[in-house]
Symmetry: C2
Subunit: 380 residues, 2 copies
Amino acid sequence: MKILIAQGGGPTAVINQSLVGAVMAAKEAGHEIIGSRHGIKGIIDEDFVELHSLDNEKLMKVAETPSSALGSTRDKPDEEYCTKILNIFQKHEITGFLYIGGNDSSETIRLVLEAAKKANYAMKGFHIPKTVDNDLMENDHTPGFPSAARFVAKAIMGLDRDNEALPGVHICIIMGRHAGFLTCAGGLGGAHRVYIPEIPFNLDHFAKEVKETVEQHGRAVLAISEGIQDADGNPIISHFVDQETDAHGNLQLSGLPLGNVLADFLKEKGVAKRVRQDTFGYPQRCYPDASKVDQTEAFECGKVAVKSLQSDLSSGSITIKRTSNSPYTVEIAPVDLDKVANLTRHLPEEYYDKESKNITEAGRDYLMPLIGEIPQMERL
Amino acid sequence: MKILIAQGGGPTAVINQSLVGAVMAAKEAGHEIIGSRHGIKGIIDEDFVELHSLDNEKLMKVAETPSSALGSTRDKPDEEYCTKILNIFQKHEITGFLYIGGNDSSETIRLVLEAAKKANYAMKGFHIPKTVDNDLMENDHTPGFPSAARFVAKAIMGLDRDNEALPGVHICIIMGRHAGFLTCAGGLGGAHRVYIPEIPFNLDHFAKEVKETVEQHGRAVLAISEGIQDADGNPIISHFVDQETDAHGNLQLSGLPLGNVLADFLKEKGVAKRVRQDTFGYPQRCYPDASKVDQTEAFECGKVAVKSLQSDLSSGSITIKRTSNSPYTVEIAPVDLDKVANLTRHLPEEYYDKESKNITEAGRDYLMPLIGEIPQMERL
């Protein structure tokens, strides 16, 4: 079989583990496997890299390297785009398509396979999940999320110590447009309050809650999702600044100074004299300190995708299900594409306490096995 | 001897190593050692912690924990403040004073010892260096800097991979008000251009240089100091926003959106369509992933400070000198306080190339042994 593999959307710290897992499995099974540069854009441009001829030592180094080694794209294909993709597949006799990405990538595979069916071209396609947002349906969690959660938890562990040394309010703005999973990792790291997109954000309640925390602890570390929104579903940041959107219509929130705006707001409200903020930004998805669990699972997802190409199934999205929490075990297997494509998973209610604005014990139990070994913080 | 130890200024990832190094040495020598909470403020408030009675296991865990376990302060004492400190020292029969901090802390010790001399009170004082800015005179580098440099280099290594996957301009704003050392660690991590406070920053040249990088590489990763200033010595950020100052008259630049301002500027100039920015902020000084070299040296500085109290010297600032680069070796010893107090060290000219706006081989050789083991990045 001739397989084409591509990487789409925002990179993660382990997306190359999935790439290399697939390449290793394909090599073992004697398939040809080529990579497309910059996601589906590289298919149209016929910008390919032969992967099966690379030696394992180099491949394993690529696996350990954060971000998408093949390059990525934000292109969201329509029917016409997918027909073009199919034409290239036919020209190069590619009959297996693997796309590593978020729910958009799952939809892309669906559209390409639809076009193939219409054209009577026999091919298969599997989606390999990745997203630091952790917002794919049917998954306990998605590759990339545990490493991002590790970065967030560790950063907040350090910032919590920093904030105790020089007390005040410390605002941490965390990635996640629609789902609060990553922000909850801030709760695991020791944030006093956690604000997620799933729960309407009210500026007055916010000021009151932070004030209470400062009164109780003399300080406050806050983990706040970049995607927090008011009761009408408008992002809080939209009250203050202009925005740009990407090709998918997603707002670009990571770079905007939500942290500064909220810091000024808390100072104006007299909540604390010293208010500092950090916007964690892109290091969340690419800081080279990945979770070992995440690395192993991402690699395995790539392998399972190749095995799925060899099975009776013609398409699917690879998913991770947790089969036990103690000891932590997972099952990695494909489900139907349309169970994942274009859908968004939100934080389960039992992981978050709306009253205390923090994660619950269930949330802690969920996150803890994912982030890998973390340093102990000791106080005097 | 009864020793008082305190931690001042911005915390670092290894400031507790110095604390514990001193406590362990004091315990071994049979001295009493007490800690003051929140720097010199805790002396005035007589807010003390007995440290010699803590067991070594707990102490070693504290050493591994980032930030100042005793708490810190931004208080800058005047003569009156120092007389108060002296009165407390006399009351508690404290004859050894160790203060871990930047050049301000060195000056504080000088003032307290001056007051003691006037009052005919026999006591000794030593300054233990720390600063992520690396701007203390007489030092090859200061504890805290190598770990911050490690964070910056690793973050930029990841962001460079991210930026290659989704090309554009990526601006990284890095701590360092007056000295470009930490920003240079961005050059070690792979930034295409590095902008430091020591070299006047010109917005038009900046746009031109970044445009050239984008033309050559199709993208640009930029390491930019928060303290960049124009030819007249005004911070670039001062052209755009209001500022607040701390008690030392230092501008608070970390939280202000210099990155956003520069990103908008480059977009307006048509340098690139996709311009993203990260302000590395406080994780630079407290992310729990310290450099092993830094940990060892910081611990040793604490030990040497206690040994200096036992020597013929009555005061001094502990310094690190590099005696060889390959193999990397250092000598840790005290110098006169006034060689460090209130002075600022800048980046040596030979570490930075003004033409290419990046670090030189000499700069690389300087930084490389400090940051510890870093992951390899492999490309396809």
